[in-house]
């Protein structure tokens, strides 16, 4: 029984990251844009675990742990900002948030 090559995981990670970038650019809802950031973080985590498996070291897993912790903190603050935004603009469309736009 042979194992799945690590490069396949890396390809999957790249595809998921690319889809996250596309979602980030094309979605118009602030919450969905925020979710696409989480998707990109997940893709990077998969690459970290795959590389940890490749090098047989644990440092990659520690980095994944820290990424998850920072993502949790980011979600708390980001959703607070989104609630504030929705309260002030009464919309979640990013095109309405144009006060600083030149």
């Amino acid at each position: 029984m042979s194992a799945v090559p690590v490069s396949w995981y890396l390809v999957l990670s790249a595809v998921l990251f690319g889809l996250g970038v596309i979602a980030f650019v094309f979605k118009r809802n602030v919450i969905t844009i925020f979710m696409s950031i989480e998707l990109m973080l997940n893709a990077v985590n998969l690459a970290f675990v795959a590389f940890a498996r490749a090098h047989n070291g644990l440092d990659g897993l520690v980095f994944v742990f820290f990424v998850i912790v920072v993502a949790a903190a980011e979600a708390a603050v980001g959703l607070g900002i989104i609630i504030l935004l929705a309260r002030n603009r009464e919309s979640l469309n990013v095109e309405r948030v144009n006060l600083l736009k030149f």
Binding site: T32, E38, V77
Partner: protein
């Protein structure tokens, strides 16, 4: 085709389908559910790679805590479907092809990176490739300072979220 291969392809397919659904869905709640699908299938892939602890944390923290927070905010705000704006010409003719190019280029580069090649011939992943005991030793010895720093970070994040979301008197 052995079981790891079948499992890998099933979960990879589910993850990609979830990511595409996230882009295609117009209701934010559908996007959130698609993202949960991606996260759960990634947890299975972590198990396949032998990282049990990360798989458990992925389910508990990501699919559990963070996505519940997202779903909660979507329900709380209840803003309805996303308004579609027509894309600018620049986005349509330059953005979309460039996005796909980035995706394919990264996939190609990663598939041919030396790291991937080295391990492509590695042995089968044992069930306990990354024992949790070793991971915690790593976390509490060389990485103790960053670990403690994250606790302060989370404290600041909680305080910040409370200050932001509080109603002004």
């Amino acid at each position: 085709m052995s079981i790891p291969f079948i499992l890998f392809f099933a979960c990879a397919l589910l993850a990609v389908i979830g990511a595409v659904l996230l882009i295609a869905a117009r209701e934010p709640i559908h996007s959130a559910l698609a993202l949960i699908l991606v996260m759960v299938s990634l947890a299975v892939l972590y198990l396949l790679l032998g990282a049990e602890f990360i798989a458990a944390v992925q389910i508990i923290v990501y699919a559990g805590a963070i996505m519940v927070l997202f779903v909660f905010v979507i329900m709380l705000l209840n803003m309805g479907v996303e308004e579609r704006t027509d894309f600018s010409k620049l986005a349509k003719f330059a953005g979309l092809p460039l996005g796909f190019f980035l995706l394919l280029w990264m996939a190609h580069w990663l598939a041919h990176s030396p790291a991937g090649k080295v391990v492509g011939t590695g042995g089968p992943a044992p069930a306990g490739a990354f024992p949790t005991v070793e991971l915690s030793k790593q976390l509490f010895r060389p990485y103790l300072l960053p670990f403690e720093a994250t606790s302060i970070l989370i404290l600041i994040a909680i305080l910040g979220a409370m200050v932001l979301a509080r109603k002004e008197e």
